[in-house]
Amino acid sequence: MKPARRHGISMVDVGNALWALILPGVVLVLAILAASGNAALAARDRGTSVRVGVFSPFRETGRLLRQQRRSVLGADSLLWRIGGSGLVIAAFLAALAVPVGAIVPLDIPVGVVWFNAVDVSLWALWWLLGWGSNSVHPLIGGYRFLAQALAYEIPLMFALTAPAIGAQSLRLTDVVTAQQPIWFALTIPVAFIVYCASVTAFSAWGPFALPAGTDIAGGVLGELSGVDRLLVLAGRWCLLVAGAAFAVPMFLGGGAGPLLPPALWVLVKTCALLAVFLLLGHAMPAIRPQRLAELGWVVVLPLVLLQLLVTSVLAVMGKG
């Protein structure tokens, strides 16, 4: 129930608006933390100073801001830069739908579909980033992303509907309240795992990092320098953060938990899931995209559909 409105604007609306304004900052802070963690893990593997690794995102930001931008002859600069800068914006839009305790900046009845729409726009953005540069290696990187996306997108769409079926609603606050006794991550595990894998895939990170791989001279990151490069690197991390944040209301019970206020629980759960992504994804070899298609369509998709069937049957039995 919404509190009574006074003077046309309620405290809840003010809270929502404020949160919507500071959300990009929060996402960026978490992204920098994730990048630091990743750099620390990489430094530990390489044997270099972990302390230097932890601060490397800051230094890298400074270095890239100081660096000259560059372009390629014949590149479609408008589309190229839209692809590059769009990643961060997509991450912010996806994170906007996450309810943080009582604050729900985007309380639309179709929060689940909102996230789906944002992750579909990533197809366009990564492809623009690869194709727009008029250079072979980024082009191959962009198409590698599409090859990966073909494998994960349909399973992801079905995995996103599973909690919606469990909660009988597409609204995120309803999905959170439906997890009061037990989290969906435990009752719909297949969907949760597919969702987590898809988050790392649409961030082109970890085992799905070959669109920016070393074997194609940096892939989509190749021809970028200066602030353009910074935007794409930030975009990758922000997408990972937004994906982890969205998993909290969908699979991890939202703000539920003892002792701490719900907003803080959301933050804690997001950071915990990010840490899991870092530790697992960092240690895995990259999967070549052409091997993913068969796996995604012949193995993963039937499993997700079976999971949906089980969830639907349980939902109908529980209701009737």
Binding site: D76, P109, V110, S121, L170
Partner: protein, 185 residues
């Protein structure tokens, strides 16, 4: 507020659609069309049809992303960033477009639409669905997996290499593909 958003979305939709024919590049034309569709989706959102609006945006962005890839692949002589003219039969097309616009605008403005009887339904999406599909809901639900299966079957049939090319005459050999699939089928 809703009126302002609606009018902005409407203007953006029309301008972006016009841009589709003015830009020099297939990729830019495709994404101008995507912008136009997103604006239409926003206009639908203003009507409180949340699900339809977001789904429109989702589907259209995905379709434009896929279309851009195909446009760039198949437009042999008119690839990206070359000056090109995509319009044909300019005069008849302009006449028809103007006539249709006048007709639709007249219909929208001059028809005496009935006033709303009662209040809006609580769940507009559900009400819209029931009004459109009503008693045929089960048919609609069954049709979508059938459509999906048809698309897959069409792809399988269109493949120049059949099962026997891949798996040998007795369908027992390991698949002979130029690129090995992930699970060796």
């Amino acid at each position: 507020m809703a009126t302002i958003v609606f009018w902005v979305a409407a203007v953006v939709a029309v301008l972006a659609a016009a841009a589709v024919f003015r830009v020099d590049s297939m990729a830019r034309a495709t994404y101008a069309l995507a912008v136009s569709f997103i604006a239409v989706g926003v206009a639908v959102l203003v009507l409180h049809l949340d699900f339809i609006g977001v789904i429109t945006i989702l589907m259209m962005v995905m379709e434009m992303a896929v279309m851009a890839v195909f446009m760039v692949s198949y437009m042999g002589m008119n690839p990206a960033l070359m000056p090109m003219d995509m319009t044909h039969s300019k005069r008849p097309a302009a006449v028809i477009a103007a006539a249709v616009f006048v007709g639709l605008a007249a219909a929208a403005l001059l028809i005496p639409w009935p006033a709303r009887a009662g209040t809006a339904a609580a769940d507009t999406t559900r009400a819209l669905g029931e009004a459109i599909m009503g008693s045929k809901m089960l048919v609609m639900l069954t049709i979508s997996p059938i459509l999906f299966a048809t698309i897959i079957a069409a792809l399988v049939l269109a493949n120049p290499r059949g099962r026997y090319d891949r798996l040998g005459d007795d369908l027992r050999d390991a698949p002979a593909d130029p690129e090995q699939g992930g699970i060796g089928r």
